[in-house]
Amino acid sequence: MSSPRTPDAGGHFGPYGGRYVPETLMAPLEELERAYYEARQDPAFQAELVDLLANYAGRPTPLYEAKRLSEQLGGARIFIKREDLLHTGAHKINNCLGQILLARRMGKRRIIAETGAGQHGVATATVCALFGLDCTVYMGDEDMRRQRLNVFRMRLLGAKVVAVHSGSKTLKDAVSEAMRDWVTNVDSTHYLLGSALGAHPYPMMVRDFHRCTGDEARRQMLERIGRLPDTIFACVGGGSNAIGIFTAFLDDAEVKLVGIEAGGRGAKLGQHAARLSGGRPGVLQGAYSYLLQDGDGQVSLTHSISAGLDYALIGPEHAYLHDQGRAEYLSARDDEALAAATRLARTEGIIPALESAHAVAEAIRQAPDAKGKVFLVNLSGRGDKDTDIYRENLPELDSPEG
């Protein structure tokens, strides 16, 4: 199999990816690509990033063996990569630190970002505070209502949060609004895109900034048990945490890679965000990949209990890995994610983000039939941000009597 590790010069992973943006953004994307390639070769840039990842964000993150959960399920040994323990509570900070150093290098004084659940917005606000840069975060009006705590956190960190009222008032609309801001203010502004999505070089660059997760996990598995895992599970919205952990294992053909999309309430269009089973290739917000769309090429609304998986397009490298058969993509429904989260909380004392709970759900489903196998789950975020949604969905735990 040809390695997709490096997209072609136009940013294509097979037929996917590329640059589908108005001409005004093409030269800025070329400039960003050039700056990124230079930075990647620059030892001083890399040293500063490694230092921040270690001493600010908290890398390396632990590799934890979930012994009670494994024992209960009676099959696979389950290991958990604890990205939830990073500063700001999710893997998002890896990419934000990389891009903020790049923005500073490019002389940009103003940062914009989109956010769905608010995790990327909080991580962006955090690195902007750290570097004293002006920060504007676009967030769907509906998401602002669902994630009030994160809106407050962003403001506390000094960011301006702009409500987006167009379309479905969720992540997709926040991305559109951020792109409109960028196209208007390209000279002064860096768009700190939060997932392995959008036009080249974003999918490649975001992947590279997250590959530390997989590099660490691979080393930790070898140190701990002297072998690689049999199967790796990661949730896939845009797909940044998944591509971050998958990349280090792409050449290990014996390691199965499983991405879990949001199965939402069921298989009907509009009720989920399972692009690889329910979508077909199309273009949204800069990239060509599997897209949930209607028969006329209009982008479908999506649903997931986790805002971070609630997006109509899958990152282009995942589309390529899917077509190549190198990774398998499954989905977990809202109720399965909730049940997995509760189980992880009760057996291991870890409350996961609802996004990450989708990966946990699939590992739980497969574990009983996998005696002698080793599973690795990327726990991309912690569940504090989801407390309100957990409360809504587990009312029996929220009565005064308890």
């Binding site: 136009g10 590329g18 640059r19 589908y20 943006v21 108005p22 001409e23 005004t24 953004l25 093409m26 030269a27 800025p28 070329e30 167009s166 379309g167 997709k172 609309d173 559109s176 792109m179 409109r180 196209v183 208007t184 203010n185 390209v186 000279d187 199309g282 273009v283 949204l284 917000q285 800069g286 060509y288 897209l291 769309q293 028969g295 006329d296 090429g297 209009q298 982008v299």
Partner: protein, 266 residues
Amino acid sequence: MESSQRIARRFAECKSAGRPALVAYLTAGDPSPERTPGLVLALERGGADILELGVPFSDPIADGPVIQEASDRALKAGTSVAKVLEIARAIRQRSEIPLVLFSYLNPLLSYGFSQLASDARESGIDGVLLTDVSVEEAGEPVSQLRAHGLDTIFLAAPTSTERRLKLVAEYSSGFVYVVSRTGVTGERSSLAANVEPLCTRLRALTDKPLAVGFGVSKREHVQALGEYADGAVVGSAIMRIVDGHPDAEIEARLEAFLADLTGGQP
């Protein structure tokens, strides 16, 4: 198949008349697909030389609020690519105005480019402009569209490098759409200062007509552009009229607005 030459001929006519071509943009299907042909004819009566028929899309990243909302209304009214082609056929039965399909890529990709090119030509469309397709990604669409005799129009932007402007000029036929400023579509009180230098840079690279859009909404804009460009594109101001008036008045308002823009009698 040969190009219809409607676009080229119209630019040539305007040039000999010593005025810029007025390119009017209308989101197809707003307020309803049935109304669009009548609105187009009103624009033509008012003095529109070329008509850009906007295909509504759910996620119009290059558009400001006015055209975003027009797209939403058109989609709610059931406007699909097939419907837009029907609209084009209805216009073509009553008018020889050059028609440019103005679209984001995905609806056309979903329709299928080979089929689209053939059906568009058959419906009387003369050219296609894809808002979110860079010249780098345009190879396949352009070869299909050209094979069916359709002009392909690309955007040139103030941020475009010399290398990119060359590619844009090379890939464009009919005319080059010059984006007057960094930003999204929408009305502005004044023209951007850097649009004239951008046109000068393009003149050095191509003989193709240059039409300037984004932020063009007033007669004085059109007059000023006439000094260095071959055409002016007006869109958001038109869609604001479509949205802002009682249904029965829209045609008359559009005709009067175009007459004012082009200096004719309202």
